[in-house]
Symmetry: C2
């Protein structure tokens, strides 16, 4: 049962492993030919719902690169299966019947909803078996507002018009929606931990949807409740609040073990904002992997160096890897981080 590579979990606990651990957001994905080979046979929805195929693509980057953690292959929107809201991926997600009223919210089957996500928990078990204790497995979910925004907008959004109109005009309804979703997410992550994940990451992919003062009023309380509740599960919790470095002050108020930093801010400045007593994760620009190996090495070294200012540092990109990335450059990055 003992993991052979514990560098990631050591860093999550504030210990200093022999090298800076690295994993890559969206590391199981379309930039890998072996992933595209699987996707040629099944749809994205089928892949997410097949524990065996989830395990296969989750381990692909672990087999190929010397990464220090795996992340469950899934999608933040599978959680809508729990409340009977269909999502199509086209390839962008589409929720055909958006939820924007109190009546619509209350009509959803919220009770013990996370029980319906058993295929994810099976995928966790399959991933753990496939990884055979080589590296830890990270489970995840979307943060309450990010998750709610898809439900409200009916898909991805640039301006979050409906989400913010509800927050500004019907704050009690907005709070009730996030309250329900937060409870569901707490149960869902509990199921992932029970199935065996070694750490959790909460993706606030659309944090930048709200200005900081509105984020504090309408969003942060729900994220805080989620983080505090899942901390009780006993595995490290990473919060990645993406897209607006101005929200880092609020992120630093969360009881998360690790704070994910996106690439919009210099890592040393981010550490100054969240505090040198925190553990941070990040933050290479994914597009830097289109640079020359020499430039990648220099950027990686600078980030490893900045990471030493914090109590702990896990190397990652500052956003998901691009589908157009050369896998050879990922191999180069891992080597550069480990030897920095």
């Amino acid at each position: 049962m003992a993991l052979r590579n514990t560098s990631f979990l050591q860093a999550c606990r504030g210990e200093r492993p022999a090298h800076t651990p690295i994993w890559v957001m969206r590391q199981a994905g379309r930039y890998l030919p072996e992933y595209r080979e699987v996707r040629a046979r099944v749809t994205f929805e089928e892949l997410c719902r097949s524990p065996e195929l989830c395990a296969e693509v989750t381990r692909q980057p672990i087999d190929r690169f010397g990464l220090d953690a795996a992340i469950l292959f899934s999608d933040i929107l599978v959680v809508f299966d729990a409340i009977g809201v269909p999502v199509r991926f086209n390839p962008a997600p589409v929720v055909a019947e958006p939820i924007r009223t109190r009546t619509a919210v209350e009509a959803l089957p919220w009770g013990r909803a996370a029980d319906h996500l058993d295929y994810v928990y099976q995928a966790v078990r399959a991933c753990k078996a496939a990884l055979a204790d080589r590296v830890p497995l990270i489970g995840f979910c979307g943060a309450p507002m990010t998750t709610a925004s898809y439900l409200i907008e009916g898909g991805g959004s640039r301006e979050f018009e409906h989400t913010k109109t509800i927050a500004f005009r019907e704050p009690a309804l907005f709070a009730a929606m996030l309250e329900r979703i937060t409870t569901l997410l707490i149960e869902y992550l509990g199921g992932q931990v029970a199935a065996g994940v070694d750490a959790l990451q909460i993706f606030e992919s659309w944090g930048a949807a709200f200005a900081p003062d509105d984020y504090r009023v309408h969003v942060l309380p729900h994220l805080r409740r989620l983080v505090s509740a899942v901390k009780a599960y006993g595995v490290p919790v990473i919060v990645f609040l993406r897209g607006n470095a101005s929200l880092l002050r609020q992120a630093a108020e969360l009881d998360a073990d690790v704070l994910g930093i996106d690439w919009s801010i210099e890592l040393d400045r981010a550490i100054d904002v969240v505090g040198r007593d925190r553990i941070v994760q990040g933050n290479l620009d994914p597009m830097a992997l289109f640079a020359t190996p020499e430039v990648i090495s220099a950027k990686a070294r600078a980030i490893v160096e900045a990471g030493r200012l914090a109590r702990g540092h896990i190397f990652n990109l500052g956003h998901g890897i691009s589908r157009h990335t050369d896998p050879g450059m990922v191999a180069h990055l891992v080597e550069a981080v480990h030897s920095a």
Copy 2:
């Protein structure tokens, strides 16, 4: 010749007019029925190329609201007419033949290119005549990198893959492109001033494309040259560096009269970053106009209050107004700002 409403220009000079001046980015636009009525008759391209229609839509929001400045109706991409690069608006801009090599750059007719933008200068004169000295007229252009990104990507972009690949792999080529574009923009803004604009705004709409350390190396020097050169024209210069509050420190190094602040940061914090001796413009979230009048008033008052911390403040949105905005809420906002 004397302007009847000088509050905007007073604020640009660091004086304190009787009320906080306000204008709204994209104030001549699709949220106005009278604008949609014009657009029903002509394409966007035809509108940009018709001095008479530009003047008509430029004055529409001035006729309707008590705004303190007008902005020339145009598009940052018309500048490509100067170098013979066709742009279609579909409605997103498309450059059918992107420019990504040294050969392609050098093949473009850069010499005295801004002379080909005479229809813009005619539009400036028509706007000045239509405004009849009621309020000042702001001219504008895109910043060098924002402008170049459309040329390189072939349109809008989310990841700026080609732009950043060139910057990281062929920095000398990237610098040469931005150098040429900057020279063109300097001449273009000179033409606008000669035609009569009372102030200039430079839109770095895609500042967030680059991480701060890369922005400093690859982008800032060109923006700095543009700002310094156009300052010599003798009208106030506003720089709006949008999308990444982490870049505000670099914006503060520019010799601009006014620094535009987007809505991703609290205005008081932005003022702390750029310095209380600066004049700022901003920064209400455009989506706040979907809130109730009471919420809009409260947010407007808070921003006016924060603006008092700086040497000067011009009220604006922190990004362009949404096409779905109720014009009645704009009227309410103008009233709220003027009475705050």
